[in-house]
């Protein structure tokens, strides 16, 4: 994990953009390959969940440990290896407190003050959208070329 640790120190030349897309793609695809190799094809849902975890893991690794949400994601991954979902998908109560709903959505949001929560949400949203873009690209290229 040493290289991963060094990679976690954010080699991004453009820090304002968040983690670099290259690193994200690299990590995710690597994880994807591992999942595809290690899980039997008979359990696509299991593989799907692993892929989802791989997505979050690569996202968190790319973002580095400087972000609270990435630390929370990695913590969750390492400690709750048996648990089902990486990102608990609880419905937000828009009628209730919105800050609470945001806290539930953003990993690690429970222990933050509102100001930090907003900051982390911004970064998390950025990384999440990059991840979604990446995965969509993979699916598109795989579906366009893989027929």
């Amino acid at each position: 994990m040493d290289s991963k640790g060094s990679a976690c120190s954010n080699p991004n030349p453009n820090p304002t953009f968040g983690p670099s897309k290259l690193m994200l793609a690299f990590r995710f695809l690597r994880a994807l390959s591992i999942v595809h190799r290690t899980t039997p094809a008979s359990s696509p849902t299991c593989r799907g969940r692993r892929i989802e975890r791989a997505a979050y893991a690569s996202m968190a690794y790319s973002a580095g440990t400087s972000r609270a949400w990435s630390r929370a994601v990695l913590r969750r991954l390492h400690h709750r290896a048996r648990r089902r979902a990486v990102a608990p998908r609880r419905l937000s109560t828009t009628a209730g407190n919105r800050a609470e709903a945001l806290r539930r959505l953003v990993p690690g949001g429970a222990g933050m003050d509102y100001c930090t929560l907003l900051e982390e949400t911004a970064d998390y949203t950025k990384c999440l959208s990059m991840q979604v873009e990446l995965m969509q690209g993979i699916v598109d290229s795989a579906s366009s070329n893989g027929r």
Partner: protein, 451 residues
């Protein structure tokens, strides 16, 4: 002479009380070196009449700042010195005071006007400030101590009133605090010399600030011209203010104390009409931070710019994050079903990315895609990569070396791949990276997903 001076000053005090509305306004606009919008015509005229007779009083009348000084100095022992110097400069100052009086005539009284425009002539003000500084140069130090002593004696009943401006004592206190605050700011900033233009510019930017702040700026401008004799003044002022801040719970005082303490972290200015105790200042900082972050989020979340209001925006953000998470889940399921084909050319992708990042343009990636297909350039690119010291890709050169061996055999098959790429550079590189991921020689030990 002294008695006369004291008496006249006391008379002036009475006049100052009536005039104080104007003076407070004047003080408020003073830092902006703007026009004085407030003035009591009768007061100024009456004071103007006395200009010739009592230069000290005229100066005190026309210049509430000086008036504050003078009223304090009545209780100080260095009054004589001040008076002498004032008399010496009074001739020149009278002209300015007349102009100030003229502008004072134009305004109403007692109301803080945010529209305070420019002072009649900055140079005139600066001249006067220079005079004040020169007489205050050696004596202000002496005066400051008596001021603090006087300050303790002066009742602070008006602490709560910000713009009533009915009390000359408050003005005095404000002035003192201003001088202190200014000296504090100068010491804090470590530069005793602020140009007049700079101070004027900063003052001009905020014509609507509170009194003490205005005075602080004025004093800073003045202190900017102070010579080294005022080092002791500032030190004493600092001590005074520190003790004052703790012992005197006046609104302005607290504000100045907090201003000085805030100058350690953030330079915050109380805006007009806003409470100025430490809690509100901190809250304002927090609110500004939150607004900043909300703006950031607004830019990130698509479709958020139309929505106004924090609650709606938060709803949008929450929905967006939720939708993104759902997309991740859906796409991961899809990826599980799809087994991507992978014939990878790592170096191609990596060198492409390197070119991308160095050239900062997707056009570079597109342009270089064809050139990267051939293996020979890949060696060079690989070495380039290794030498580039990409910290995040430490393990990649290993991958490259291994993949090159694999690619040598697969070069034929690979050449066809790029041509089938979708025009999107991202997808193209994704495809390449996909191919890379399934390279059996890739070192995948470092990234394991807990399963």
């Amino acid at each position: 002479m002294d008695m006369h001076g004291c008496n006249s000053l006391k008379n002036e005090d009475n006049l100052d009380y009536t005039y104080s509305g104007n003076s407070s306004d004047w003080q408020q606009c003073n830092p902006s070196i703007g026009c004085l919008d407030s003035g009591n015509p009768s007061a100024t005229v009456s004071q103007g009449n006395q200009i010739g007779s009592t230069p000290c009083s005229s100066i005190s009348m026309a210049d509430p700042f000086g008036a504050g000084l003078w009223n304090l100095s009545t209780e100080s022992t260095s009054l004589d010195l001040c008076k002498d110097k004032l008399q010496g400069s009074s001739n020149q100052i009278t002209g300015n005071s007349m102009s100030i009086g003229g502008t004072l005539l134009q305004t109403g009284s007692g109301v803080l006007r945010p529209s305070l425009s420019h002072f009649p002539s900055d140079s005139a003000f600066i001249e006067r400030a220079a005079r004040f500084s020169c007489f205050g140069g050696s004596d202000l130090g002496g005066m400051m101590n008596p001021y603090s002593a006087a300050q303790s004696q002066i009742p602070h009943s008006d602490a709560s009133r910000e713009s009533s401006g009915a009390q000359i004592q408050k003005n005095e206190i404000n002035m003192m605090e201003a001088v202190r605050g200014a000296s504090l700011s100068t010491t804090d900033h470590g530069s005793k010399e602020k140009d007049n233009s700079h101070a004027a510019a900063t003052i001009r930017k905020r014509p609507s600030e509170g009194m003490a702040l205005d005075q602080a700026k004025v004093a800073s401008q003045i202190s900017g011209e102070m010579d080294d004799d005022n080092v002791e003044l500032e030190q004493k002022a600092e001590q005074n203010s520190s003790s004052a801040a703790t012992s005197r719970p006046r609104g302005k005082q607290v504000k100045d104390g907090n201003e000085s303490s805030k100058e350690d972290f953030i330079h915050i200015r109380a805006r007009r009409g806003q409470a100025t105790n430490s809690h509100s200042l901190a809250e304002r900082v927090r609110r500004e931070k939150i607004n900043e972050r909300m703006k950031l989020l607004q830019d990130l979340v698509p479709g958020c710019s139309k929505v106004t209001g924090k609650a709606m925006m938060l709803d949008e953000i929450i929905n967006y994050v939720q939708s993104l998470q759902q997309q991740v889940e859906f796409l991961s399921m899809k990826l599980a079903a799809i087994n991507p084909r992978l014939d990878i050319d790592i170096e191609a992708v990596l060198s492409k990315y390197v070119l991308l990042q160095t050239c900062n343009g997707p056009s570079a990636a597109m342009g270089s895609s064809s050139g990267i297909v051939r293996p020979p350039p890949l060696h060079a690119s690989q070495q380039g990569l290794a030498q580039a010291g990409l910290s995040g890709m430490i393990n990649l050169p290993d991958l490259l070396r291994r993949s090159i061996n694999a690619q040598m055999t697969a070069a034929q098959g690979y050449k066809e791949e790029p041509k089938m790429q979708v025009p999107n550079a991202w997808d193209e590189e994704l495809h390449n990276v996909l191919q890379m991921a399934y390279n059996g020689t890739v070192n995948l030990n470092t990234h394991r997903v807990q399963q």
